[in-house]
């Protein structure tokens, strides 16, 4: 691995030298979005409303710049930060055992991407804080309703605790019991992506997350099948070294959007968690329909054995997104989370949300 890191350093240096010796076409783009919502939650004992930043696709600013470093070689930077107040995945009922309650306090910028890349006919090498090779591989979704709901179900109301029949909080949360286990997210990596071959590309990354070495590998696909519509999918693997051994996740997703507007999405992951000493599973199914400016979908998901052996955490959702113009989306979501735990009787959590994402 040291050898590959050295190669990246050499390549980056070569690109910078090339930039220093020849003027090049330079293009920078700044874009962003604001995504705010009103969320209502009923946990069986209490109901409340929350003004949130939708963590499915948070409020953020993105800066991308690239220049021709030399003939056939492009060098660039990617910088993206989010700015969330009352993150929809963190807020929870006042008095909860953990968490901020209805407000997370003053928002601060959170790093999403701070990376440099080199791109040529051989593919792309990225260095810095960015997506691991498999990040998003369980979230491929062509439904057009991802801003309302997708495999990452815990991004909305993930911080809420289930209550028992007496109304007392338990330690079990939505996030802890039905995570989509989307590999290792974003962290400091060196990543390589092959060029596209017939719609396929392979990506591999190595990095460090929370003082642990992480390796990821993923196969990505996206293609247009003509009258049969569009198809996209990914298969990923991650391995993170922890004290008890290797924490490994394997899984992926596939999504099909027929020309009629009908769409179907499937996602599955299996995590071998040596710290917990058991496998943790997640499965997800979404069916939807897109017609012009409207997109509608229903989904079902299940997390198994995540917070405790024998846990079954189910969720059902209905989502709708209206896109009157390309830069504005108005969305609505209702969903229910259930937790079936041995020896416990827990109350369902119901969530409703309306919001808008405006791209500026």
């Amino acid at each position: 691995m040291h050898r590959s890191k050295g190669a990246v350093v050499l390549a980056t240096g070569a690109a910078l030298m090339a930039l220093g010796t020849s003027a090049a076409a330079l293009e920078t783009k700044i874009s962003g979005q604001v995504n705010r919502a009103l969320m209502a939650v009923d946990d069986g004992a209490k109901s409340d409303t929350f003004f949130v930043d939708n963590d499915n696709s948070s409020t953020r600013i993105r800066f991308v710049g690239a220049a021709d470093a030399s003939p056939g070689l492009k060098a660039g930077v990617l910088f993206e930060v989010e700015f969330q107040g009352n993150d929809s995945n963190l807020v929870n009922m006042p008095g909860s055992p953990t968490g901020p309650g209805r407000s997370t306090g003053s928002p601060t910028f959170g790093e999403r991407h701070t990376a440099v890349f080199l791109e040529a006919g051989w593919g792309r090498v990225t260095l810095g804080q960015t997506d691991g090779a498999a990040n998003g591989a369980v979230e491929v979704d062509l439904s057009g309703t991802s801003v309302a709901h997708y495999a990452g179900n815990t991004d909305i109301a993930g911080g809420f605790h289930f209550r028992d029949n007496a109304g007392a909080f338990t330690s079990a949360t939505i996030a802890g019991t039905s995570s989509q286990q989307d590999f290792e997210s974003r962290y400091d990596v060196v990543r390589y992506d092959t060029p596209l071959f017939g719609g396929f590309k392979l990506a591999g990354s190595f990095g460090t997350k929370a003082n642990s070495d992480v390796k990821e590998l993923a196969l990505w696909y996206s293609g247009n099948l003509g009258a049969a519509g569009g198809l996209a999918g990914a298969l990923g693997f991650s391995q993170r070294g922890v004290a008890a051994g290797d924490d490994e996740i394997v899984g992926g997703s596939i999504s099909w959007l027929h020309a009629s507007g009908f769409n179907a999405t499937l996602g599955l992951t299996d995590r071998d968690d040596p710290t917990a000493g058991r496998d943790k599973q997640f499965s997800y199914l979404k069916l939807g329909y897109k017609l012009g400016k409207h997109a509608f979908s229903v989904d079902f998901g299940r997390g198994e054995d995540q917070a405790a052996a024998g846990d079954e955490a189910d969720f059902f959702g209905i989502g709708y997104v209206y896109t009157p113009v390309a830069w504005a989306e108005f969305y609505a979501l209702v969903k229910q989370h259930q937790l079936d735990r041995s020896g416990a009787s827990l109350q369902d959590i119901n969530v409703a949300m309306i919001g808008t994402r405006l791209k500026f």
Binding site: D141, Y150, L266
Partner: protein, 75 residues
């Protein structure tokens, strides 16, 4: 068929379908959407382009001048 087996089988179907498909770029719906922006207009981003192409031409002209100068006999 167990659910865990469904994905590899589905991806095998994708591989076969990929043989006849036209590749398209996939963009996650949880990223900043493509297309126009409220303030940024049709490009969907505030775009800054340097006058680098002109500078590049000037630089190339300088390189040519320097090479020509080097070929000339020194007085």
């Amino acid at each position: 068929m167990r659910p865990r087996h469904a994905l590899p089988i589905a991806l095998l179907g994708v591989a076969l379908a990929g043989c006849s498909a036209v590749p398209v770029a996939y963009r996650s719906g949880t990223e900043i959407p493509e297309g126009p922006g409220m303030f940024s207009g049709a490009e969907g981003a505030f775009v800054f382009r340097s006058g680098a192409r002109a500078a590049s031409s000037e630089y190339e002209e300088f390189i040519r001048w320097r090479a020509e100068k080097a070929r000339q006999p020194q007085r």
